[in-house]
Amino acid sequence: MKASGLKILCAALIIVLLTPAVAFAEVSVGYEDRGLTVGADQWTKDADTGKLVRAEPGAVVTDPNEYKYELQCHLGGGDFDTPCLGRQLDCKDREDGAKGIPVMWLSRPRGVPGAVWAHHSGPTCLYDAKPEDLLPRIAADIQRQFQNLPVNAGSVVAQPSPNTLRGAETNFYAEAAEQQFDITMFGQQVHVVATPVQYTWNYGDGTVFGPQPSMGGPLPQDRWGEKTRTSHAYAATGDFQVVLTTSFQGTYSVNSGPPLPIPGQGQFSAPPQGISVWRSLTRNYADDCNANPQGQGCPGGGAPR
């Protein structure tokens, strides 16, 4: 026993010694990376005034860029770059006979007036007779598709459960995770990634908390009853149905193209979780059961009054 314990300790030490070297190798040097690393001010466009305002801390981060694609080697109008066509991506036609067309992806920041499109990624293949308006068609439908995906809102955990006490802080937390889906839209393989970003708790007694960004977390048993960001104290006894609604943010990528933001969030609810709220009575006695065998809770004690 002792030997294996030592071994574990040594392994832990080695990990500790190795970690700084690994961390040192990653230098965050890029303009955007660095800004996020050092906590540069973040600004968003106010939906009403159109003016830039400081983003509120903890606000849901959306992709600040917009995307489009162009046919690879296309110069505009009917003109194509001939040398480029020679080394164009070879999009093999699909088994169903759909013709593959190589496209380049471009992006630009949304909040900058006059921003130009710049190369983002690609080439990747699209399979459609009219690839020019394929993305708008997918974009118009992606929100509906997203909301209809079988996204798991996560599970609800209550501490303590299934019974808790009136007036006591009951700790609720969610266990929700990123999920990935592959769907077909307009003949294209669309890969959707759903990430949980906000949580709304309906505690079943008329109290609704959220949407807010914390999914909460478990408390060790000796700390049950402490107030947490997501805990709730029931004012009355009874059986309650707790419902968690998780908001997911999504991205979609068309035939292995770049992940594009899905504009709206998807709301998904977890199955209701029952909780029984009991009351507790405290009675104090000056003596122990030996001195007062008739006291409540003592072997000879009477029924609670």
Binding site: D33, G35, P109
Partner: protein
């Protein structure tokens, strides 16, 4: 490699009045190179012997020598003869045009810092309280430490719109495009996975003082 790096910075600091002319020449030749449609990075012609012969005495001659030609960084060594950004006259005025020209100039200096490891110029035109500016400086210095150099990371600002109005702090909204960044170890190997190119919106808070414009509050638009 360190030798070349030193040379770049020494040439820049010892002869500031000549470097602007050099920058124009280099800019001109770059334009020509752009017309020819050749790829800017040409690792095939990189020869360590040729770059070592580029001694600091070269700029003393009147005719431009091949060593004065800008050469971007690659796996064989850091960039050479990086054009030194020149502050346009208009950037000295407290106007919308002045603020826009200054912001462009600031990013040219930042790009210069990525390419040369010399962060002094862009820090000199940044306010001491600019968290993002200082963060960029630290990141670039770390990347360039220990005989390493950066290949890529050049910055372009195709869209700059300033708001300079009485009663409000002047600022500019900027599109910042940065090319892929590779950090090369002294032996030419990659330190880490290259940082992909980015296309970012920034809000640049600027302040006009006795020494002209300064970048005082730089942030990201999300």
């Amino acid at each position: 490699m360190t030798l070349q790096n030193l040379f770049t910075s020494r040439a820049f600091w010892s002869r500031p009045q000549r470097s602007s002319a050099g920058a124009l020449l280099v800019a001109g030749s770059l334009l020509l190179a752009g017309c020819a449609g050749s790829s800017p990075a040409d690792p095939g012609t990189a020869s360590p012997a040729a770059s070592e012969s580029a001694t600091p005495s070269a700029p003393a001659t009147q005719t431009p020598t091949p060593s004065a030609v800008y050469k971007p960084a690659d796996a064989s060594g850091p960039a050479q003869n990086v054009p030194v950004p020149v502050l346009p006259e208009v950037a000295k005025t407290e106007t919308k045009e002045g603020a826009e020209a200054f912001v462009r100039f600031w990013y040219e200096n930042l790009s210069f810092a990525y390419e040369t490891g010399n962060t002094e110029a862009f820090i000199q035109i940044s306010g001491p309280g600019c968290v993002f500016c200082n963060g960029l400086k630290d990141g670039i210095s770390e990347a360039w430490s220990g005989g390493r150099w950066i290949s890529g990371g050049k910055i372009e600002t195709p869209a700059v719109t300033a708001t300079v109005e009485p009663g409000t702090e002047p600022y500019a909204v900027v599109q910042v495009i940065q090319s892929t960044i590779e950090i090369r170890n002294a032996d030419g190997t990659l330190l880490q996975k290259p940082t992909p190119a980015t296309n970012t919106g920034s809000r640049a808070g600027v302040t006009f003082g006795a020494s002209g414009w300064k970048m005082t509050d730089l942030g990201l638009i999300r």
